[in-house]
Amino acid sequence: MTDTADLLQVKGLTKRFGGVTAVNAVNLEVKQGEIVGLIGPNGAGKTTLFGLVTGFVKPSAGKVYFRGADITHMPPHRRGMLGIVCTFQKTALFPDVTVEQAVRMGQHRKTSAGALDALLGTPRHQREEDATRVRAAAVLDLLGLTACARRQAGSLSYGQQRLVELAIALAADPDLLLLDEPAAGLNATESAELVNVIQAVRDRGTSVFLVEHDMSVIMQACDRLYVIAFGDKIAEGRPQEIQENEAVIEAYLGSQHAAA
C-alpha cells in the first residue's frame, strides 16, 4: 500500500555481494516536496543503497516504487525519463563541451525531437532548439554559472564543476533529484550556497534525496533523515531527533563533527 504523497518508496531492499550483505531489507520513502537525507558511517552501505535507487545496482531482493509504480528492475535511463535524475560521487560531467552545451544536453527528457525531425528541420526541432537554449540560460542563472557558459566544462574549478553536474541534472527538470555527496570537496561558503540551491530546487517542485557526510549541509537542508549502518537502517526522523539518537551516536563512534 503506497501513500499517495509518496514519490519514492523502497521496501525491503537488499543487496548481497558474494558473502557480504551491503544493504539489508531497508525501507524508506521520499514524499512529494521533501528533502530527505541518508547518512551513516563509512562503509555503511549508503553508496550501494543509492545505486539501488538510481538503478545502477541491481537488487538481490526488495522493491522500489516511484509514484506507486514498480521500478525495481528498471534501467537507469528509463528512470531518468521518468524523472528520477542523479548525480555521482566522483566528478561526472561532460568535460569536453561548453557549460551551456552541457546544460542543453541535460534537457534530453524534456524534449522529444528525433533524428528525422533533425534532418527535416521540422517545427518541433526548431522549437526545441530555441527552448533548450532559453532553459539552459535559466538553469545557469539559478546556479550562478552564466559567466562560465562558453567555457569547456572540464576546464573549470572543482567547485564550479560540481555546480555544472548539478546544472545538468536540474536541466532535466527531475521530479526526484538524487544527489550523491554533493558537498564533497566544497568549502564552507560553497556548502552554504549548495544548501540554498537544494532548497530552491525543492521550492520549484523537485523532491530531493541526498547522501552526504557533511553534517552542516544535512542539518540545514533536510526535512528528514535516514541513518544506515552496516547495511541496516538504524534510525529515521527529523534532523534534531537524529542528533540526539543514541544508536546513531554510537554508530558513528562519536567521531562525527558537530552539526550546525
Binding site: R78, G80, F94, Q101, G114, A118, A169
Partner: protein, 333 residues
C-alpha cells in the same frame, strides 16, 4: 534551414555565429568553386579530388561513431565494403540501374549495422574495440571464401559505367559533381544531426555514459542510431568508389582501408564537422604531392596517427583556434 548559427562546442572554424546572409553567400561561392573546379585542374588532380570526396563521406561517417558517440569502431571499413559489394553485385549480377544500386548501398550497410549493433554496442571500451575488429576480419574472411557470391579474392569486375537514365557519367567531371554533391549531402545531414537533440544525446554518451543514462539517454538506442547512420554513409562511399574504379576486391574490408579512415579522422579532428573533411583531403592529396613512395605510406600513417593523438588530440582543425589562444595569451602576458 534557419539554424541561428551552429552551436558547435568544439573550436569549429566553419560555424560560429555567422549571419544567414553571409552563410548563403559563402555557400554560393563554394558552389561556384566546386562547379568550376574540374575545368581548372588537370585530370590527375581531378581524380584525386574525386577520391577525396569519397573519403570525406567515409571519414565523416566514421567520425559520427568515433568522434560524436566516442566509440572506436574498428569494423567500420566493413560497412564501406558492404556498400561497395552490394551495389556492385546488384549492378553486375542483376543489372540494376546505377541510381538504384547506389541508393541500395546505404540501407544494406545500415542493415548490417543493425544486425551486429545490438551484440556489440553495449560492450564497454576495450571489449567493443576488439570485437568490432574481430567482426570485420570475419566478414573479410567470408567475402574472400564465399566465392559463389562474391567471386572471392578476384573481386568483382566490370562494374558498368555509372548512369542515371540515359545520362552516363562517362567523364571525370560529371562523376566529380556526383561525388561532390553526395559529400555535401552527407555533411549537411550530419550537421543537422549534430545540432539537434539527437546529436546532443550522442555527445552525452561520449562524454559520460553514466550521466547520459541518468538524464534519460538510452545508450542502446542512440549508439545504435549513430552506428547505423554511420554505416549507411560508409556504404554510400563504398558504392561511389565501386562505380568509380569499376573493380573491387575484398581488400576494401581490410585493415588498410580502416587505418586510412582512422588517420583521416584523427589527424583532421574527431568530433568536429570539418575535421574529417580536412583529414580526408589531406590524406588523399599530400602523399601524392610529396611523391611519397607507396612503400612508406603506412609507416608515415602510423607516425602521423601517433603524433596527432599526442600532440593534437583535437586534430588539425583545432590548431587554428589553439594557436590563436596561445598567441593571445602571449600578447597579454
Amino acid at each position: 534551414m534557419s539554424d541561428r548559427g551552429s552551436e558547435s562546442e568544439r573550436p569549429d572554424p566553419t560555424g560560429n555565429a555567422i549571419s544567414p546572409a553571409v552563410r548563403v553567400a559563402l555557400i554560393l561561392i563554394a558552389a561556384a568553386a566546386v562547379a568550376g573546379f574540374p575545368y581548372t585542374v588537370d585530370g590527375y588532380t581531378l581524380h584525386l579530388a574525386i577520391l577525396s570526396g569519397i573519403a570525406v563521406i567515409a571519414a565523416s561517417s566514421l567520425n559520427l561513431v568515433m568522434g560524436y558517440v566516442g566509440k572506436l569502431s574498428l569494423g567500420h571499413a566493413a560497412f564501406y565494403g558492404i556498400g561497395a559489394y552490394t551495389s556492385a553485385l546488384l549492378a553486375t549480377s542483376l543489372g540494376v540501374p546505377t541510381w538504384l544500386a547506389i541508393l541500395a548501398a546505404a540501407p544494406a550497410a545500415a542493415i548490417g549495422a543493425l544486425a551486429i549493433g545490438p551484440i556489440v554496442l553495449w560492450l564497454r571500451g576495450a571489449y567493443f574495440i576488439i570485437v568490432t575488429l574481430s567482426f570485420s576480419i570475419v566478414l573479410q574472411l567470408v567475402i574472400v571464401n564465399w566465392v559463389d557470391l562474391t567471386n572471392g579474392p578476384m573481386g568483382i569486375l566490370g562494374i558498368p559505367l555509372p548512369a542515371i537514365r540515359s545520362f552516363e557519367f562517362s567523364s571525370k567531371t560529371s562523376y566529380f559533381y556526383l561525388v561532390a554533391a553526395s559529400a555535401a549531402l552527407t555533411i549537411w545531414c550530419i550537421r543537422r544531426l549534430i545540432n539537434s537533440r539527437t546529436g546532443r544525446a550522442f555527445e552525452a554518451l561520449r562524454e559520460n555514459e553514466n550521466v547520459a543514462m541518468s538524464i534519460g539517454v538510452s545508450k542502446l538506442h542512440y549508439s545504435l542510431l549513430a552506428f547505423c547512420i554511420g554505416a549507411g554513409f560508409a556504404g554510400l562511399a563504398g558504392a561511389l568508389y565501386a562505380y568509380y574504379v569499376s573493380v573491387i576486391t575484398p581488400e576494401m574490408f581490410g585493415f588498410d582501408v580502416m587505418v586510412t579512415m582512422l588517420v583521416m579522422v584523427a589527424v583532421g579532428g574527431k568530433g568536429t564537422l570539418s575535421g574529417p573533411v580536412i583529414g580526408a583531403i589531406l590524406v588523399t592529396f599530400v602523399p601524392e604531392q610529396l611523391r611519397i613512395v607507396q612503400d612508406y605510406r603506412l609507416s608515415i600513417f602510423g607516425v602521423a596517427l601517433m603524433l596527432s593523438v599526442v600532440l593534437m588530440p583535437n586534430g588539425l582543425v583545432s590548431l587554428g583556434p589553439t594557436l590563436i589562444r596561445h598567441w593571445q595569451r602571449w600578447r597579454h602576458s
